[in-house]
């Protein structure tokens, strides 16, 4: 596998770092900017993991408060956003465990399924298939579909493909190896594809 190396001296300082430094010195307005920049993403991630609106709201609050308290521990060798996401993922998993009392929940749960390894639905999709559904109907289809994934696949897909973290960042955030992230991501993508095919495939007579 090719290793991408950055030439020395070309590292750019992310604008968040200046805000973090100000927030560390007690500048709450600087921290407010970070909150406003990332609260929607944190909410989305929390909602994807917990599948519960109230829990997701709590996660947003707790994740930012924990980040604020622990700003001194932020090393600056990862992005602030990635660091924040790691806190949010842990908070979300904790809430999920509380809801499923007595059951251990981790991102390793339910990943040993064989489903989705080989594509079964081999039909072509209609062109621009999402346009055939109303906005809320489509959102419902997408929610229902992704909710069916095992949590360990879902979180990898969300971080990597929805939130745009790199494979390495996703691995670091979840404490997984890069090959484990890649394998889960592929299976998540293939399972989602398979399930969405039901809604998006071309019918044999060419109608919806």
């Amino acid at each position: 596998m090719p290793i991408i190396q950055q030439a020395p001296g070309t590292e750019e300082v992310h604008p968040d770092i200046a805000l973090v430094n100000r927030a560390r010195e007690g500048d709450v307005q600087a921290f407010e900017k970070l909150v406003k920049q990332y609260d929607r993403q944190v909410f989305r991630i929390a909602q994807h993991i917990t599948q519960n609106r109230e829990d997701a709201e709590d996660v947003v609050q707790d994740a930012f408060l924990k980040a604020f308290e622990k700003l001194d521990q932020f090393q600056g060798n990862s992005k602030f956003y990635t660091w924040l996401v790691r806190i949010a993922v842990n908070e979300s998993l904790m809430r999920l465990r509380k809801r499923r009392t007595g059951r251990m929940v981790s991102i390793d749960e339910d990943v040993e399924t064989e489903e989705g390894s080989m594509p079964r639905d081999l039909a072509e999709w209609r062109p621009n298939p999402e346009a055939l559904y109303g906005q809320s109907e489509l959102a419902e289809i997408l929610r229902k579909t992704i909710q069916g994934l095992p949590p360990g696949f879902r979180v990898v897909f969300v971080l990597r493909d929805v939130e745009g973290l790199s494979t390495e960042e996703t691995a670091e955030t979840l404490g997984l190896s890069v090959p484990a992230v890649k394998s889960r991501l592929l299976r998540a993508r293939l399972q989602l594809r398979e399930r969405l095919s039901r809604y998006f495939r071309k019918n044999e007579d060419g109608t919806r």
């Binding site: 709450v28 909410f43 989305r44 293939l190």
Partner: protein, 78 residues
């Protein structure tokens, strides 16, 4: 290259992370396999749809309330 071997590389292929030497082999497989073309295209579309559609939107009123609560606690020193 057969379909299973192609599928094993599909993730990296979609992310443009396949080692250069392997790209030609994957493309050659696609030329002769309609099923893998469909699988690749629809998987790509799956990612694109999830990326482009917000399915868990944070409503503005709730967002304001959460931001106010967070910052109030920060000002108090958490």
């Amino acid at each position: 290259m057969n379909c299973s071997e192609f599928l094993a590389q599909l993730g990296d292929f979609l992310d443009n992370q396949v080692p250069t030497g392997l790209v030609g082999e994957l493309q050659a497989h696609l030329e002769g396999c309609e099923h893998c073309v469909i699988t690749m295209r629809t998987t790509q579309k799956t990612i694109q749809i999830y990326r482009n559609h917000e399915i868990y939107e944070l409503p503005p009123a709730l967002r304001e309330r959460l931001e106010a609560a967070i910052l109030a606690k920060c000002k108090k020193g958490c």
